[in-house]
Amino acid sequence: MPDSATQARDAQASRPGPGVTGGARGFLHDLDYSVVQQCIHCGMCLPTCPTYDETGLERNSPRGRIALMRAVADDRMEVTRAFGEEMYYCLGCLACTTACPAGVNYAELFERARAEVERLGVLDHPRRRWVRRLVLGGVFTRPRLLRLLGRLLWLHQASGGQWLFRKLRLTRLLPAWLRELEPMTPPIRPRFSDRLIRPIEQPAGPPRRRVAVLTGCVQDLIYPEINRDTVDVLLANGCTVVTPPLQPCCGSLHAHNGDLANARGLARAMISLFEEERLDAVITNAAGCGSHLKHYDRLLADDPEWRERAAAWSAKVRDISEFLVETGFRAPRGAAADGPGRVTYHEACHLCHGQGITRQPREILKTVPGLELAELAESTWCCGSAGVYNITQPEQAAKLLRRKLERIAAVGPRVVATANPGCLLQLQNGARAAGAAYAVVHPVSLLAAAYRAEPAD
């Protein structure tokens, strides 16, 4: 689009300027108008939207939500409570982005809309404010505190405290909303990534590339082994791997929940941490983080001091599967008999829709000896995890989970592979509750296991 900048200016020129709205321009008003205008309301995204599928109402569709955002940007509508609720009913799964032929940047619209909802406080409620401040402002901006909490939670779970807690019905003392969450707390691992991975690890042969591995926050507490597997796979492919023991949260949780200020702060911290290293790539294995990390350029575009640094960062971020395929990873050797058997692949929204990565994880899976890849119907349909959606919208999340489990059951796999901690947790919880026998693992773990099982030659 060679002349898009001029058009954007044209479009801006004929709209009410800042003076008209009294200078208190919001996140949607400040957005380049061409982003709002990009939607031509063709409706091609509707059949891919899980919330529209559920209700059949336009307002619960991408096209409808964009129309509401545009009405706000055009000063035809106020940001109301209903508007706020609509933006939080959206999963942020970005299936609409994959479907949209017109190239609408829904992710940005959605983040801005939620930020506007928070700025104006239309959903404000003392409890909600308290939780947001604690979670977004407190815990997830302080990696040490998060790990400390993680350890306490582990102790609580490992000591049988949780069992006792539930047995004694102490949960009844908790407020109802917290009570419902309690069984959803994931099993915390005894050792986090910093105890499993050294800050710098060298491959056996001469190093060909130097990469950093991001350990993530939720991933670090409940799936640190996946980080270990990621490092092992990179080592097996001739990479020097840099893994700082204490890393900030990437800020995706903040950006997706209307807290752009903290999201920007965390992005700057993240960039600073790695900037001094001469890296060929920054590797992430959590789809939700990856799709956010790649957009630091957009997040910091208005910050003259950080714009270029953020662009350089975004150019380096790679999902692990993307990186492996791009650099021609080595297929593991081994006997088919020892393989995992029938495996199906559930596509994390923020990998397939957020980053357009669909082919690479399958290519990796296909190289694992003894792995039979059986396609999952509706593999790109959201499982309902969607960040904290399963906490904020439990009913809709449960419906999506049920649908996903049905599709998986139809395949009858021994293993379900998926590349995002939220999906892993959601599917593991779902499979356990349904008494299903399959394991749910990250594709990179299957590859790491195959490398480990290679016969010595």
Binding site: D10, R15, Q37, Q38, C42, G43, R59, R76, M77, P101
Partner: protein, 468 residues
């Protein structure tokens, strides 16, 4: 604050409560957040927020709503999925939208009579899938088929990519249940292959754009699924060569099911979305598909490739398998929306000319773009003579929009001069209304209005659409 349009700011009409009382709970939407998303369809630059939206679930609810509108003389606009490209389901100020999207049941697939019966909110793709499951085939496949409703298809008499061999929606409608403007219900049609009992009244409602009645049930004709299919992609260095190829194929008495054409701009936009490796440097490509008996398909595919090469095709590619053929067709279906990547406003025309005039029309569109200093991309159903010149512009640029108006006027005049029609498949709605009279002539236009007056004397059904 920008002054809000009256229907947005004004008090809600006093009849809302009464309407809600006459319908089951939850059917009537009235909150601004619920209504704003129904203010438009797929047409550029048209927007009117309705007073209320009724989400009907049954025929009786539809009838009750229409009766209510008739009693109070409230304008009522039927709506499927709102993908229309002429403004047909854009609300009328102060009026009702009656949305059929939730009437989604497929009632019967009759393999003995090759028919399918369903409600109007079933998606076109769902009709096609249900037919396929029974080993049958529902051919009409508008580009929007994954989301357009079958009711909307009938109301617009939609075409698709297979029109050349299989015709349009009208050719597959055997029967319709219609709620008339006074709220009464009629059933028109049957499962018979032949039927000359009186006027073919169902045909009156096909392509009626929601102006004569609301369709609440459909009986559709299916055909046997063709056993073989072959898809080819021919690349050309000039648009004329592509047009000549199509004339050549038709002159050679080959009737493929698809002859779709994309120009360079459209190819670029589609590729930016679909990323399936379309060649973005050629001037035009033609997607050709033949289906039927395997031996015939083989022969026709070869024949088409030969004709394309004889007319200077740079290359003819053959889709390796069903999956690749589907990817190509899906990419083609995204053409219109993909063009929106280029400029903020995408104004799509739907002119159709006799096929012998295609090359003239294509050249005229190019000349018109130059004359008015506009960017026009063209794609379309070349085999049907149906072109979609698409003006890539910006609705907020008043000077440019004047040139757009002038260009559309020129294109319409030339179309009519060549014996064509202003709309081949998208309907008149609001977008083509100003040009309808010049195509139909005074008498034709008056007849149209007499039919409307006979069926909807108070003018409550989609008033202001098609004609004033």
């Amino acid at each position: 604050m920008k002054p809000a349009a009256p229907q947005e700011a004004g008090p809600p009409p006093d009849w809302l409560e009464e309407l809600a009382r006459r319908l089951p709970a939850g059917r009537v939407l009235t909150a601004p957040e619920d209504l704003e998303p129904y203010a438009f369809d797929g047409t550029a630059a048209l927007r009117t927020r309705p007073a209320a939206v009724v989400m009907a679930r049954t025929r009786d609810e539809v009838a009750a709503t229409v009766r209510f509108a008739a009693e109070r003389k409230i304008p009522l606009v039927g709506r499927g999925s709102g993908t229309g490209l002429s403004g047909g389901s854009v609300p009328v100020a102060g009026g009702l939208v009656l949305c059929l999207a939730r009437m989604k049941r497929i009632l019967e697939v009759d393999a003995a009579n090759l028919t399918l019966s369903c409600e109007p909110g079933v998606l076109t793709a769902e009709v096609a899938a249900a037919a396929e499951q029974a080993g049958l085939f529902y051919p009409p496949d508008p580009g929007s088929m994954k989301i357009s409703t079958i009711g909307g298809n009938v109301a617009e008499n939609s075409g698709g990519l297979r029109g050349l061999k299989y015709g349009v929606t009208r050719d597959y409608v055997l029967g319709l249940e219609v709620v008339l403007a006074d709220g009464s219900v009629v059933w028109l049609g049957n499962k018979c292959v032949k039927d000359v009992a009186g006027l073919s009244l169902k045909d009156l409602f096909i392509g009626s754009e929601g102006c004569l009645g609301i369709i609440t049930r459909l009986l559709l004709k299916l055909v046997p699924k063709p056993p073989a299919r072959r898809t080819l992609l021919a690349l050309f260095g000039s648009m004329e060569a592509a047009a000549e190829t199509v004339s050549g194929i038709i002159a050679a008495k080959i009737i493929p099911c698809t002859l779709e054409f994309l120009d360079r701009t459209t190819i670029g936009a589609v590729e930016a979305h679909a990323r399936i490796g379309l060649p973005t440097e050629v001037a035009a490509l033609v997607l050709m598909e033949t289906d039927g008996h395997p031996a015939v398909v083989e022969e026709e595919a070869e024949g088409m490739a030969t004709i394309a090469k004889a007319n200077g095709a740079l290359e003819v590619r053959v889709a390796a398998d069903e999956a690749e053929a589907l990817r190509l067709a899906t990419a083609r279906r995204s053409a219109f929306a993909a063009l929106a990547r280029i400029r903020p406003t995408t104004i799509l025309e739907d002119v159709t000319v006799p096929r012998s005039e295609l090359a003239t029309m294509v050249a005229f569109i190019q000349a018109t773009a130059e004359k008015h200093d506009l960017r026009i991309a063209t794609f379309g159903h070349l085999g049907d003579g149906n072109l979609h010149p698409t003006i890539l512009t910006d609705e907020t640029n008043a000077a440019e929009m004047e040139r757009v108006e002038a260009a559309i006027g020129d294109i319409v005049d030339e179309t009519l001069r060549l014996g064509g029609t202003i709309t081949g498949e998208h309907g008149v709605g609001l977008a083509k209304k100003p040009y309808l009279r010049s195509q139909l002539g005074e008498e034709g236009h008056a007849l149209l209005r007499r039919v409307k007056a006979a069926l909807d004397p108070d003018g409550i059904l989609n008033p202001g659409k098609v004609h004033d």
